[in-house]
């Protein structure tokens, strides 16, 4: 009976792996196919003509570099900004009495803003942004993504700060340290790994975000996910180019995921499961 379960589980794992890896395999081989082969039938499981054509075209014809720069500028700035603004918020909601029962409620309220479908807020934001001329600008997008990352960062970091032993802070207070000194000299160094991991996770979510980007950009500030979505339309199918662009843009995301393996589960379940 025991061996039956073992064999069944190996078969299940093999099938699941095949299911997960197949699209990734298709992605990689298609990116090395020339245009005509990517569109031929039957599809080839190994490129008959291995070529870097699609990769060159992504840069020369599709302007990959400018999308990459937009993605980098917007993602990195918004993650940095939300960490800088988020740490004091998380610290305040974890260690300082804001009001009776307020800490928990404010933290949960901030988190709940992230639970609503983004489209609910993007439409009015678009109207406001078009009045303020913020559509398709770096500041507009960086602010938007900062607001989307903040609830996540505050909620997770607050959880980490709450786990620290209270005595450390209390002895610092006795020694006459100010709130800001405690935050910068004690809390930040102690939660440093968590801050880095949370920042990398926010990077991942922002890097891949599409809904906001597609509505708040028009021409100059489009990000990589928008580029990826633009290869396949009703009349055009640049599959090999699309796959090459995807392969290139997924590299930072994979690095981010592998760097945060341990914190990933905790982050994505909003702190409920400690990975």
């Amino acid at each position: 009976m025991r061996s039956f379960y073992t064999i069944a589980s190996y078969i299940f794992l093999a099938l699941t792996l095949a299911f997960i890896l197949f699209p990734i395999y298709v992605l990689i081989i298609t990116s090395f196919k020339p245009f005509t082969e990517a569109f031929s039938y039957p599809p080839t499981l190994w490129p008959r003509n291995l070529t870097l054509e699609a990769y060159f075209k992504v840069f020369t014809h599709w302007g990959f570099t400018s999308y990459l720069i937009n993605s980098l500028v917007i993602t990195v700035s918004s993650v940095l900004l939300s960490v800088i603004v988020g740490i004091p918020m998380a610290y305040c909601l974890a260690s300082i009495k804001v009001g009776k029962n307020w800490n928990e409620n404010i933290a949960f309220f901030i988190l709940s803003l992230r639970l609503l479908p983004p489209i609910v807020g993007i439409l009015p934001l678009y109207v406001i942004y078009s009045h303020l001329k913020l559509v398709d600008t770096y500041p507009g997008l960086i602010l938007a993504y900062t607001a989307f990352n903040l609830p996540f960062i505050v909620w997770i970091l607050r959880g980490f700060i709450l786990e620290l032993p209270r005595e450390i802070e209390e002895s610092a207070v006795v020694d006459g340290a100010s709130v800001f000194q405690i935050m910068i000299k004690i809390i930040v160094p102690l939660t440093y790994p968590a801050i880095i991991a949370t920042a990398i996770l926010s990077f991942l979510l922002t890097w891949n975000e599409f809904t906001t980007a597609v509505f708040l950009t028009a021409q100059y500030r489009k990000t990589l996910p928008i580029l990826i979505s633009s290869f396949i339309g009703d009349l055009q199918f640049y599959w090999n180019d699309m796959c090459a662009a995807t392969v290139l843009s997924i590299i930072p995301a994979i690095i981010a995921v592998l760097l945060t393996q341990r914190q990933l589960v905790r982050g994505l379940t909003l702190g409920a499961v400690k990975g």
């Binding site: 589980s9 190996y10 794992l13 997960i20 890896l21 197949f22 699209p23 298709v26 992605l27 298609t30 569109f39 031929s40 039957p42 599809p43 988020g86 004091p88 918020m89 305040c92 909601l93 260690s95 300082i96 009495k97 709940s112 803003l113 639970l115 609503l116 479908p117 489209i119 609910v120 807020g121 439409l123 009015p124 934001l125 678009y126 109207v127 602010l143 900062t146 607001a147 989307f148 903040l150 609830p151 207070v173 709130v179 891949n208 809904t211 996910p225 928008i226 979505s229 396949i232 995807t246 997924i250 592998l258 393996q261 990933l264 589960v265 994505l268 909003l270 409920a272 499961v273 990975g275």
Partner: protein, 290 residues
């Protein structure tokens, strides 16, 4: 005991973050409640300037605009198919991986790849596979002697393709989270049950599953919320069609707000959606507290 400091310090710590959240999230959200009273069509010669219409948008929504409720039906169908599959497969995945097997670190690494991929990219790649003319899906059907299928271009199968992408991207996530949860469970209840002669199956149903209850509920609410947000797969695979076969709620609001530019009407839809989602979240929160 929490620290107590003066108001000025608290404000200094909280204000910058709140300023951004109010400007980007809360402000626009409240602005919805203003917009919903207007006939307001951006880039339109007449209705470019909002015209007050009272509760007209809601009357339209409740009496004649069945597409909105149709989008909810589609969202529920999508959720009811995709999420159970993800939970069953994810649980099996977690159980299979919850022991010493050769190369399990590499396996876990592979499971993380779908999570790293932008949903837009996932949708696009599956579109390549499902393409009715020369995709791999039909090629494999051909190899085992079955007729080609229209996949994302047909009314009956378009929803299925969305479900496949969702299952592909999120099953590993459910599996990894449940694996972590399994690993952190106390060992004593299971050992006690084993000593009492319970079979592995009995232990799973009567000991492991009840211990995982809250994690499962949390995962469930996260996944359901995510289903309400589904946009990227639709945008890359089906455009909500054919017809409105795969127009889930986010895509419906997008069509009305950003395609027809009826922003007042879409604001009414957004407000109703926010209320419905809040009800679901609160219901789950109550369940978890019990």
């Amino acid at each position: 005991m929490p620290l107590d400091v003066d108001l000025k310090t608290k404000l200094l710590l909280l204000a910058p973050g709140f300023a951004i959240i109010i400007f980007i999230t809360i402000g626009p959200f409240v602005f919805n409640y203003y917009m919903m009273f207007f006939r307001w069509k951006l880039y339109d010669p007449i209705y470019r300037h909002p015209v007050f219409v009272g509760l007209n948008n809601f009357i339209t929504l409740f009496t004649e605009y069945s597409l909105f409720w149709d989008a909810y039906v589609k969202t529920f169908i999508f959720t009811l198919i995709a999420v159970p599959i993800e939970f069953v497969l994810g649980m099996l995945l977690a159980l299979s991986l919850n022991r010493k097997i050769p190369g399990d670190r590499i396996l876990r690494g592979i499971l993380l790849i779908p999570l790293a991929m932008a949903p837009v990219a996932a949708g696009s790649i599956w579109r390549v596979i499902f393409n009715p003319m020369n995709g791999f899906a039909n090629y494999f059907l051909h190899l085992i002697g079955l007729p080609p299928q229209p996949w994302n271009t047909s009314r009956s199968q378009a929803m299925l393709t969305l479900v496949v992408v969702d299952v592909w991207q999120w099953t590993p996530f459910v599996g990894i989270v449940l694996l972590s949860a399994l690993a952190s469970l106390p060992r004593e209840p299971m050992e006690a049950a084993m000593i009492d002669g319970a079979s592995p199956r009995q232990i799973f149903w009567h000991v492991t599953l009840p211990l995982l209850r809250n994690i499962l509920l949390l995962l469930l609410i996260l996944r359901i919320i995510e289903c309400f947000k589904t946009f990227d797969y639709i945008y890359t695979l089906t455009y909500g069609g054919p017809g409105s076969a795969t127009t889930l709620i986010t895509y419906r609001i997008y069509l009305d707000g950003f395609r027809r530019w009826e922003v007042g009407f879409a604001a009414a839809e957004a407000v109703l959606t926010a209320i419905i989602v809040s009800f679901i979240v609160v219901a789950f929160y109550r369940l978890m507290r019990r």
